[in-house]
């Protein structure tokens, strides 16, 4: 699965923190079904109803800052989002997303508006705005991360390889 296509949900906001992605009060559980219902609710209460499977979340700088809660990328993935495109990511969120198999693409110069169809090429690391025809370069992911994502997350990766070597 090297290319992902979907409609963009765009937030032209920097520093969307993990408390806004999924408030702490919903994280005290191992069940994931509820997370999808509450994702981004303090930022946009309608998001969880609007989002469709395969959609792409698009944001500004430092997406996912704050707490290390893995429920943040899990909630986004559970809601059906196939990929997050942001100008930059906070480091723990970026790693967590890769580890749970949610593709994250850092495209600092993206020009995408809400509702536009977007195509992300995970192999070349580029983002295409299918409405405007513009392509944006993405920061190259470290090799280890790319391998983990390709395996579908860290659990699959370590079951397969047993170690990081």
């Amino acid at each position: 699965m090297n290319t992902l296509s979907g409609l963009a949900h765009v937030y032209h906001i920097d520093n969307i923190d993990t408390d806004r992605i999924i408030p702490g009060k919903y994280t005290k559980t191992l069940e994931l079904d509820d997370l999808a219902k509450h994702v981004l609710e303090d930022l946009d209460p309608e998001f969880s109803q609007r989002v469709q499977a395969g959609d792409i979340l698009v944001a500004g700088h430092n997406f996912g800052c704050g707490s290390s809660r893995e429920q943040a990328p899990l909630a986004i993935k559970a809601a059906g989002v196939s990929c997050v495109v942001a100008r930059s990511f906070a480091r723990i969120f970026y790693r967590n997303a890769i580890n749970i198999g949610l593709p994250v693409v850092e495209a600092p110069e993206h020009v995408i508006e809400n509702g536009q169809p977007v195509r992300v090429d995970l192999e070349t690391g580029s983002v295409l705005n299918a409405t405007t025809g513009q392509t944006f370069a993405a920061t190259k992911m470290p090799e280890t991360m790319a391998r983990i994502l390709k395996a579908g997350g860290l659990v699959n990766f370590l079951v397969k390889h047993g170690n990081y070597q």
């Binding site: 520093n15 923190d17 408390d19 806004r20 408030p23 702490g24 009060k25 994280t27 005290k28 559980t29 191992l30 303090d42 700088h61 430092n62 800052c65 704050g66 707490s67 290390s68 809660r69 893995e70 930059s88 906070a90 480091r91 723990i92 790693r95 967590n96 580890n99 749970i100 470290p142 090799e143 280890t144 997350g153 860290l154 659990v155 370590l158 079951v159 047993g162 170690n163 990081y164 070597q165």
Partner: protein
């Protein structure tokens, strides 16, 4: 080749000399997870085929985020942790023992020159002990539990030199809030922050932990302290991404205003703001010196009408010391109420949620919208002395005003 603290520690654990930007696979010395992150970590560990920990004696599980359990769902997550600890022989800290980072520091789990991995974003706190301490998510931690290793990108480093003596009433919290203001929420992204300079020499470990704790609010990978009483020093001509010098003698008490930790202003800009709820707690500022600072302000006073002051000491040890030295009595007589040593109100999942339209002043580290469990409340962050003074005045005020008032009575 001159190296930063991060480069030295990572090189020692990678088995080869590494520099900033390189990827290294490193041996991890110690790790921990809390009740917020352990359940997922245990689940992932099992899914990876994990049965035996890489080193049970160096792995700790702590109940601190929802302590004691507010409902049966959480109680069963706690039970899961107890069973895992019993089965694997890892270290386990029960309800009421304290906040994870405090316990790791008090009980010698993080040591100078070691690599410590914590499933909590404020793991950087332990950098005050000279360790390279990084926060990670649950699944990443499961990888450590299984292999005793992790991969990481050697960070660039920012060197912060603190000069001068802290004036009366100015604390490490005011210093770090000013730094968060300067650097910004992502100004230290992926970087390690080194805190050094003459000011550090005179800071207690508790105060040094305030600095490394809030490195997380600058986006940093970790924060570390360099001081003459710690074994490791960065090389004099090491290369840094940025160097910052802060003259602390010029600082005012600083306050983060809603709704971001890096929206920091001097107290002068927010004085007079009415508050309803004061909180002294969290891994940032709930140690003995913080409770003592609050008691020094509150002694002989009562809380302003309509104000509540909730205090969660950082650990049982802190609680017991404050009990013995009379600090708790002063705080309680003033009207403070005490809750379990743990994260409590800071993280919004359990205890001390603010009501709609309420204004909170807190000694914690984050004031994002909804952080304390209610997106319709506002949170200001400050030092424990400012929190205490504001609880007496019913509005944001600097401690010297309250202290001066006592002298004229």
């Amino acid at each position: 080749m001159p190296q930063t603290l991060a480069e030295k520690i990572i090189s020692a654990h990678a088995g080869r000399t590494v520099s900033a930007n390189e990827i290294a696979i490193v041996n991890v010395d110690a790790a921990m997870a809390t009740d917020a992150t352990a359940p997922f970590a245990i689940k992932a560990f099992r899914a990876m085929g994990g049965q035996k920990l890489w080193d049970a004696a160096r792995f700790s599980l702590i109940i601190d985020h929802a302590s004691p359990a507010p409902n049966e769902r959480v109680a069963n997550l706690h039970r899961l942790m107890r069973e895992f600890a019993a089965e694997t022989g890892c270290v386990f800290y029960e309800v009421g023992e304290g906040i994870c980072h405090q316990l790791m520091a008090e009980n010698g789990h993080a040591r100078p020159g070691e690599i410590f991995v914590g499933a909590d974003s404020h793991t950087s706190t332990l950098g005050a002990l000279g360790a390279f301490a990084i926060g990670m998510g649950s699944t990443d931690l499961a990888g450590v539990m299984l292999t005793g290793q992790t991969w990481l990108k050697v960070p660039h480093s920012i060197r912060i030199e603190l000069r001068g003596q802290l004036p009366n009433g100015i604390t490490a919290k005011d210093v770090v809030l000013d730094l968060v203001r300067q650097v910004g929420a992502d100004g230290a992204n992926y970087q390690a922050i080194e805190f050094a300079g003459e000011t550090i020499e005179h800071l207690t470990l508790a105060s040094r932990m305030v600095l490394t704790n809030m490195a997380a609010e600058m986006g940093a990978k970790t924060g570390m302290v360099e001081a003459s009483d710690l074994p490791l020093k960065a090389d004099v001509d090491a290369v840094y991404a940025k160097r910052i010098t802060l003259h602390v003698s010029r600082l005012r008490p600083m306050v983060s205003v809603p709704h971001a930790p890096d929206k920091v202003q001097p107290i002068d800009a927010v004085r007079g703001r009415k508050i309803h709820y004061a909180f002294i707690g969290s891994c940032t500022n709930a140690r003995l010196e913080d409770l003592q600072a609050a008691a020094a302000v509150l002694k002989g006073y009562k809380l302003a009408p309509g104000v509540r002051l909730v205090i969660a000491p950082a650990s049982k040890r802190v609680f017991n010391e404050a009990l013995r030295d009379g600090t708790l009595e002063i705080l309680s007589e003033a009207g403070a109420t005490f809750i379990t040593s743990g994260c409590g109100p800071c993280v919004g999942s359990h205890l001390g949620v603010p009501g709609d339209g309420e204004v909170v002043i807190s000694s914690a580290n984050r004031n994002f919208k909804g952080r304390m469990g209610n997106p319709n409340a506002e949170i200001y962050l400050a030092s424990p002395a400012v929190v205490a003074a504001s609880a007496v005045a019913g509005e944001i005020v600097e401690p010297s005003v309250v202290l001066a008032d006592r002298m004229t009575r």
